[in-house]
């Protein structure tokens, strides 16, 4: 943990310790529940036998006779590894007891054996009471099974009764756990009814619960594995599935009694399975924290192979040693992975939950470890293996919840993505349309230029030749005007709007220089900075009207002064051309050039949905008023 996170340490430490304590309290509660029955049993008629005679031997039952073999007195619980180091096979135990309930009528007595390993036969006064299963390899495995054997009243005798137990078991060195090595716990004898509840609890917690847990984990694990397998980006789910399945199979040792293969194979399988579980656990912790470490990806399967190889190499006789070594290695690995996981995710809500659950798991494993030196299979030891399935179920729920949420987000994301795709498609279509329009515009522009070039080169050149070679001034002028018309028409094809301010500049320059050349005093009034625009057609037509009016003044009016006024009024563009010349004679319509000029000016204004008024009085000059609606004139 880096220094910057230090301020958070106490808080998170307190939380973790608190969660650990809660887990411990849970364990204790469970354990006390297991113990409850035994504690409630009345002390008077129930007693525990804490020593026995033992004799090694494979012989038949010894109904009531003295033991024929070398006899040894041992304390119960007895571990073969302590009292008979290196011993494997079958061992006789004999205990004697006085009928505790003499005169208590026909109340059924029973003997409770909290733990024995691996299998047993029990005789009362020489008569076989019960047989736990196969007494030869492969032995039936009753190591995790509590036993409650009724003592039939007709077999009991007054005075001392003899209880013979024949136990078949394994050497400590050959097994991976102290609880699978040969041994016998202390026997409790008492009324069946009093012993039964405690037995039932032990059976429920020690065998029934692990069975249920195995089934649950198998289902959960299978489900998670498939989920993780489908969603490769959430590989931690697959590892969690593998972890749950592996743990379920590992837990099967608690309740599977009849294995079809030999003891050595069983031990081999258990350790290999543990290696696999550790692999899954470490990878789950890393992947869940979002880390993917290549060398660990390769090292863990390799370790599985190494575990198997080391067992083969060491042989059955040193299996405990090899197993202890690997337990230590596994514990360190899982601890390191857990540390890594918490360091990366410890500060999130889900990280805190993981911290709590990992603490519980650590405690359960610690209890399992510590129990290896415990003489008895205490209630705490019995319930500790249940913590793992419990924790896994919680983690599984949490993972499913997260996965569901991720799916939901994905769904939302997809909806958003679809929305975005739709928008993008619309945008592309819009762009495409614009592009198409642009292309049409470009093609039009190209065509216009081609037509313009043709007109200039051909028609223009011919008109120009007429302008400069004709002897008739009138024809020259007509040709020149035709040329101007042609150019204006060509320009009209461009279709581009013209800023009114620019148009005024063009008109002013042309009109004023023409008037100046003709010796007429010109006056121009126009507002500055006009933001308006004129459509190209309006520009061309207005140019023609102004040009025509100027020509008329220059040619026919004899004016000495000409004023041109432009203004914008109520959205209208107004152009007033006033001269102080002769005015227009009433018979002007009969004169071909002038009459035609005035009519064409009016016609042009009409084309633009405007108005061209001519006011004239002979001797008072002429006023030409052109009015155009700007909103219409702005269209190309």
């Amino acid at each position: 943990m880096s220094a910057s996170h230090l301020p958070f340490v106490p808080g998170s430490l307190v939380r973790r310790v608190a969660v650990g304590l809660i887990a411990l309290a849970l364990l204790a509660t469970l354990a006390s529940a297991v113990m409850h029955g035994a504690a409630a049993a009345g002390p008077a008629r129930t007693f525990t036998i804490r020593s026995a005679l033992t004799a090694a031997g494979d012989g038949p039952a010894l109904a009531g006779d003295a033991l024929p073999y070398a006899v040894q007195t041992v304390n119960l619980p007895d571990q073969w590894s302590h009292t008979r180091p290196g011993f494997a096979g079958t061992l006789w135990y004999r205990v004697g007891f006085v009928h505790p309930a003499e005169g208590a009528g026909d109340e059924l007595l029973a003997v409770a054996i909290p733990q024995l390993c691996s299998n047993f036969e029990i005789y009362l006064n020489g008569a076989l009471l019960e047989n736990g299963g196969r007494m030869r390899e492969p032995l039936t495995d009753n190591c995790y099974h509590p036993q409650l054997v009724p003592l039939p009243a007709q077999l009991l005798v007054a005075g001392t009764n003899t209880l013979d137990l024949r136990i078949a078991g394994h050497r400590r060195e050959e097994v991976g756990s102290r609880w699978r090595a040969g041994g016998l716990a202390a026997l409790t004898i008492g009324p069946y009814a009093e012993l039964d509840p405690g037995y039932a609890r032990r059976l429920a917690f020690g065998v029934g619960a692990p069975q249920g847990a195995s089934a649950t984990l198998l289902l959960l694990g299978g489900f998670m594995f498939v989920l993780g397998f489908i969603h490769r980006s959430e590989s931690h789910l697959a590892y969690f599935g593998a972890l749950a399945i592996g743990t379920a199979m590992l837990d099967a040792r608690l309740w599977v009694r009849h294995v079809p293969f030999g003891h050595q194979v069983q031990e081999f399988v258990l350790l290999a399975l543990l290696a696999f579980v550790v692999w899954a656990a470490v990878q789950f912790l890393l992947r869940y924290a979002g880390a993917r470490i290549r060398w660990i990806d390769r090292a863990l399967p390799l370790q599985c192979a190494l575990v198997a190889f080391s067992m083969l190499l060491a042989g059955a006789q040193r299996l405990a040693l090899v197993a202890d070594f690997w337990y230590a290695v596994f514990a360190l690995e899982v601890l390191a992975a857990a540390g890594y996981h918490l360091r990366r995710r410890g500060h999130s809500a889900s990280g805190r939950l993981m911290a709590a659950l990992l603490t519980a798991v650590a405690l359960a494993i610690a209890v399992e470890f510590a129990s290896q030196w415990s003489p008895e299979r205490t209630p705490l030891v019995v319930v500790a293996p249940l913590v793992l399935p419990l924790v896994f179920a919680l983690v599984g729920l949490r993972l499913v919840q997260q996965h569901g949420r991720a799916l939901q987000h994905e769904q939302q994301g997809r909806v958003q993505l679809e929305q975005r795709v739709r928008e993008a498609t619309a945008e592309i279509e819009r762009n495409f349309r614009q592009l198409a329009e642009l292309q049409v515009e470009q093609v039009t522009e190209r065509e216009r230029k081609r037509i313009a070039a043709d007109l200039h080169d051909d028609l223009g050149a011919k008109l120009l030749t007429i302008v400069h070679t004709s002897d008739s001034e009138r024809i020259s002028t007509l040709a020149r005007e035709a040329l101007e018309e042609m150019r204006l028409s060509v320009r009209g094809l461009t279709g581009r709007a013209v800023r009114l301010a620019d148009a005024l500049g063009d008109w002013r320059a042309e009109t004023m220089s023409r008037l100046a050349q003709a010796g007429i005093d010109g006056e121009w009034q126009a507002p500055d900075d006009l933001p308006h625009a004129l459509g190209s057609r309006a520009y061309v037509q207005t140019t023609r009207i102004l040009r025509e009016a100027t020509s008329n003044i220059i040619k026919h009016s004899n004016a000495t002064h000409c004023a041109v006024r432009c203004r914008i009024e109520d959205g209208d563009f107004q152009l007033v051309i006033q001269d102080n010349g002769d005015g227009i004679a009433p018979d002007v319509d009969s004169r071909p050039d002038r009459g035609h000029g005035l009519a064409s000016m009016k016609a042009r204004a009409k084309q633009l949905h405007g108005q061209c008024l001519v006011e004239s009085g002979q001797g008072y000059g002429t006023v030409i008023r052109l009015t155009l609606a700007l909103d219409r004139a702005a269209d190309p």
């Binding site: 620019d502 500049g505 063009d506 320059a509 220089s513």
Partner: protein
């Protein structure tokens, strides 16, 4: 005595132009040509004082001749004589180094007057060309363009003022009155504007050529 190049493909117009030129410059030696190719050859060998160049010619654009003259004979004055009055056609020729332009269909007297003005150093400038020149220099003055390695040629305030007024439609004599300057001073500003347009355009062209790897 002046040497004058006349580049025009239409024979009638060429004859008409020649008469005009002879009227303005009675002692001038006039070389005539109807194709860009021939004109380029002439420019190599003959030294010209004035060149009247048509733009649309059968084998190319008169702009090539304007450019070549500017390169080989910086003192020669190119004048575009054209039927096109729009700045789309005229601006490239002005950028290439032409000092003004004359529209062919104008009346004889007007053209004579313009020719005389041009020969006296008074090139014409229309409002639309003025706007185009202003837009060109404004574009170059933009911050993004300022970092370009082209030697930055900018207009003086007076030159900009003249351009602005021309764009608004004022004639050169009017501007002279408004600014309290002589007609010749205003004409000098216009000439200076044409020159800067050419210099700036050439620098730009050189840079573009360099960018395209034409000069290694």
């Amino acid at each position: 005595m002046k040497t004058i190049l006349l580049l025009e493909d239409l024979p009638e117009i060429r004859a008409w132009l020649r008469k005009l030129v002879q009227q303005v410059f009675p002692d001038a030696a006039i070389s005539e040509s109807s194709r860009v190719h021939d004109a380029l050859e002439l420019v190599k060998t003959v030294k010209f004082d004035l060149a009247l160049v048509d733009l649309g010619l059968p084998d190319g654009s008169g702009v090539e001749v304007v450019t070549r003259l500017r390169d080989l004979q910086p003192d020669a004055q190119s004048v575009v004589v054209t039927i096109h009055d729009d700045d789309e056609h005229l601006f490239p020729a002005l950028q290439a180094g032409a000092f003004g332009y004359i529209l062919k269909e104008q009346a004889r007297e007007l053209i004579i007057e313009q020719l005389q003005r041009i020969s006296q150093g008074e090139p014409p400038l229309s409002p639309s060309i003025a706007r185009r020149v202003m837009a060109y220099f404004t574009e170059k003055a933009r911050p993004s363009a300022r970092n370009s390695p082209v030697p930055h040629v900018s207009l003086t305030d007076r030159e900009t003022e003249v351009l602005l007024r021309v764009a608004k439609g004022y004639t050169l004599p009017e501007i002279g009155v408004q600014l309290g300057l002589s007609r010749h001073t205003i004409a000098d500003y216009v000439k200076q504007i044409y020159r800067k347009l050419n210099v700036s355009s050439r620098a730009e062209a050189a840079l573009e050529a360099q960018r395209l790897g034409l000069f290694g």
